[in-house]
């Protein structure tokens, strides 16, 4: 058990180091984050001035920062899995003493962690400079960030699971993009669900994005132990659902590889 954990921890560390060495990629990511924060800060500043509401931008920009930390930090796991399955690379891994899926997942989380930490550090400085006083108490911040990190791990799991759809689809890019966009609206990733119509929020509650994104991120401006507990509970439930799907799809995949080869 410990040995097996050590193997995966090593894969995580390796992927972390690799991601850390890609300075150009990371700079591009931080630049994109800066542009997002800058643009939406401007939007909420203008709306705040128009409506005569002070500090509107602070609430929405801190919210946006955490949302982007979850979304943008996720590597394109669905493409990695898709390539592995379609090119037959996966067949090379099935006889290795590691689970192919867990191996890829650990690599994904290692990659995500670098982006998450950097975006968190850089984003907090930029957001603080743009908006001033944050909408949360500082003692709540570590808990909020921890919840966001857990959501990011679930996000990576979700997209790794989408990659398994390569079993049935000829192209995964558009499906992943549509999911990404649905996640944006049902998870309230750019604008919080509190501004959406009630009928829409009722639908969103039935999607996993509501738990991964909205419930977690809204802690930034609406922190309470009950909200935190709700987020933990619902996220756990969705992890179970995603793992069930992955288990089923992975078994099918293994069978296919064992019968037909890569």
């Amino acid at each position: 058990m410990t040995k097996s954990f050590a193997k995966y921890a090593m894969l995580f560390a390796l992927s972390f180091k690799q991601a850390w060495s890609r300075k150009a990629n990371l700079s591009g990511l931080l630049f994109f984050l800066f542009i997002l924060l800058f643009i939406y800060n401007r939007l909420w500043e203008v709306i705040g001035l128009q409506d005569g509401v002070k500090g509107l931008n602070a609430t929405f920009i801190w919210y946006l920062l955490l949302a982007e930390m979850i979304i943008l930090s996720s590597p394109k796991m669905e493409r990695v899995l898709f390539d592995d399955i379609r090119s037959g690379t996966m067949a090379y891994y099935v006889n290795k003493p590691v689970s192919f899926f867990i191996m890829r997942y650990c690599e994904g989380v290692g990659n995500m962690t670098v982006s998450f930490l950097l975006m968190g550090f850089f984003g907090c400085i930029v957001t603080f400079a743009l908006t001033g006083t944050p909408p949360f108490a500082w003692w709540q911040f570590p808990l909020i960030v921890l919840m966001c990190y857990i959501s990011s791990c679930i996000n990576v799991l979700f997209y790794t699971g989408i990659g398994l759809c390569a079993l049935w689809l000829g192209s995964i890019r558009t499906l992943a993009m549509a999911f990404e966009r649905l996640a944006f609206i049902f998870g309230g990733a750019i604008f919080p669900l509190s501004i959406y119509p009630e009928w829409f929020v009722d639908i969103a509650k039935w999607t996993p994005f509501y738990a991964f994104y909205y419930l977690t991120i809204k802690l930034v401006y609406d922190f309470s132990w009950i909200n935190l507990w709700n987020a933990v509970l619902l996220n756990t439930l969705w992890i179970a659902v995603i793992l069930t799907f992955i288990g089923w799809a992975y078994a099918k995949l293994n069978k296919k590889v064992n019968i037909y080869g890569g």
């Binding site: 990511l29 409506d51 993009m177």
Partner: protein, 264 residues
């Protein structure tokens, strides 16, 4: 010159025909991809509809203006992704030496790289683009032609910027994601109501990141029939296109070939 152009056009049309044939090998897959693209677009548009439903207008812009902006953006991006998306792969071709395959071809290498990739799903962007024009509340025959013209200029700016970003790979290795992220930043900038950018923000909006050429001027052109907007777009797209080609050519001089062998 005319002969060269006609030959390139013939090749271009042939490649597009092949792309469509390839996509139609699996009709269901092609249809799903186009529908997914539309779901993707309408999700984004819905977000903005919610904002305008709540706020009425944002600094003078209403949902009709946003619909025009989305129309132009979607058409421009569809043209880019369907016909010249290959330029996005240029950094990878440079890094791994695959550019050699394009350089040995008797055709213009930038043209060959550009047409080397196409995403069929982006036909969904065209459908979204035209639909957005028709719900914008600015529908007339004249406006329709202006809409097409604005989409064309927006596409040229988009393509030119992408060439410049991809050509960075001639100077900096492993710059694929950097270029992708800056291009994404440009698209994000372009899909905001231009009215939120005033003063110095507006200057930056038009120069550092030329997003204003894709969002501000097209809407002004269609809504107000502003000839100055048309002139700005025509001039902007010409300058950016020439600049992009010059940067690509100067980068090409620095390119040291890889050691792979292959013909395309």
């Amino acid at each position: 010159m005319a002969d060269k152009f006609l030959n390139a056009l013939k090749l271009f049309l042939y490649i597009q025909k092949s792309n469509i044939k390839t996509a139609f090998l699996s009709k269901a897959d092609a249809a799903v991809n186009v529908i997914m693209m539309m779901v993707n677009n309408f999700s984004f548009i819905f977000m903005w509809w919610v904002i305008f439903e709540n706020k009425g207008s944002v600094n003078g812009w209403n949902f009709g203006d946003m619909a025009l902006l989305f129309g132009v953006m979607n058409n421009a991006f569809a043209t880019f992704a369907l016909f010249v998306r290959g330029v996005q792969q240029l950094p990878e071709f440079i890094d791994n030496g695959n550019l050699d395959n394009f350089l040995v071809s008797p055709r213009n290498s930038l043209f060959m790289v550009s047409v080397s990739e196409s995403t069929f799903a982006n036909w969904g962007d065209y459908l979204t683009g035209f639909l957005m024009f028709f719900i914008s509340g600015h529908v007339s025959v004249e406006n329709f032609f202006l809409f097409l013209l604005a989409s064309l200029f927006a596409f040229i700016i988009m393509y030119a910027l992408r060439v410049i970003l991809s050509a960075l790979a001639f100077w900096a290795a492993d710059s694929q994601r950097l270029g992708d992220n800056i291009f994404m930043a440009f698209l994000t900038f372009s899909s905001q109501p231009a009215s939120i950018f005033t003063g110095w923000y507006k200057v930056m909006f038009l120069t550092v990141i030329p997003a204003g050429f894709v969002s501000l001027y097209p809407v002004e052109l269609i809504k107000e029939h502003s000839w100055s907007a048309l002139a700005a777009m025509a001039l902007g797209s010409t300058i950016f296109f020439i600049l992009a080609v010059k940067i690509y050519l100067s980068g090409l001089k620095r390119y040291s070939s890889g050691n792979r062998f292959g013909v395309r």
